[in-house]
């Protein structure tokens, strides 16, 4: 199993259903080849540095997974056919990864997420006070 990172960009105006459909098909392809998905992150709509197919905004999705080269080939073939996918980029991050490596990676990723959530919670406590102050100012 090799470790890959794939980023693909969807058109910004496609509906939520379409986004879910594309993500579902990517997970299916990876799992069919007995890979494991370590992380599937939707980064949301961002401004593109240059126009792609006349679109200036794009919906980014990031996927970190362990899989076979055949899975990657199939994934890219699907992306090429699909009209809603503007661009894709696959990068190999590790040549081989064992079962233990996968578990470690999963643990590391979930630890990072919980750390980020805790950071967000402490931030939101402060920002709630700020929001209340703003609301008072607006009503006045």
């Amino acid at each position: 199993m090799r470790r890959y990172e794939t980023i693909f960009i969807l058109r910004p105006n496609v509906g939520e259903d379409e986004i879910i459909k594309v993500i579902e098909s990517t997970t299916q392809i990876i799992l069919k080849e007995k890979g494991t998905i370590l992380e599937m992150n939707r980064w949301g709509i961002k401004k593109l540095a240059y126009l792609i197919k006349k679109e200036s905004l794009g919906y980014y999705v990031y996927c970190d997974y362990a899989g076979t080269p055949a899975a990657v080939a199939e994934l890219e073939r699907k992306f090429r056919i699909d009209d809603s996918v503007l661009k894709y980029l696959t990068i190999k991050t590790a040549i081989s990864i064992t079962e233990e490596g996968i578990q470690e990676a999963l643990a590391a990723i979930s630890a990072k997420e919980t750390a980020k959530l805790e950071g967000e919670e402490t931030d939101s406590i402060d920002s709630d006070d700020a929001e209340e102050e703003n609301n008072l100012e607006e009503t006045e």
Binding site: I7, I9, L48, A49, Y50, I52, G58, Y60, K87, L89, I91
Partner: protein
């Protein structure tokens, strides 16, 4: 008549490579903020002799910048702002 030589012949003073130094930043194509420092206003990659990175890190930087250009985090040419 004393001729004052302009300092053009002197090489730029030896700066240490940012990545070899204390910071230990990882070079990643997703980290656009760091990559922006090594790209000119027009979006061109700044040469190593001006920035002061070592050869290994400059090669990794170039690869990361080219990957970032591929997924439209950085432009191929044109202003990097807006």
């Amino acid at each position: 008549m004393a001729q004052q030589r302009p300092q053009k012949k002197l090489f730029t003073r030896k700066k240490s490579c940012r990545f070899c130094g204390e910071k230990d930043l990882a070079i990643n194509y997703k980290d656009v903020k760091t990559l922006r420092n090594f790209v000119s206003e027009r979006g061109k990659i700044i040469p190593r002799r001006i920035v002061g990175t070592c050869a290994t890190h400059q090669r990794q930087l170039c690869e990361a910048i080219k990957q970032a250009r591929q997924i439209a985090f950085l432009p191929y040419s044109g202003s990097t702002q807006g």
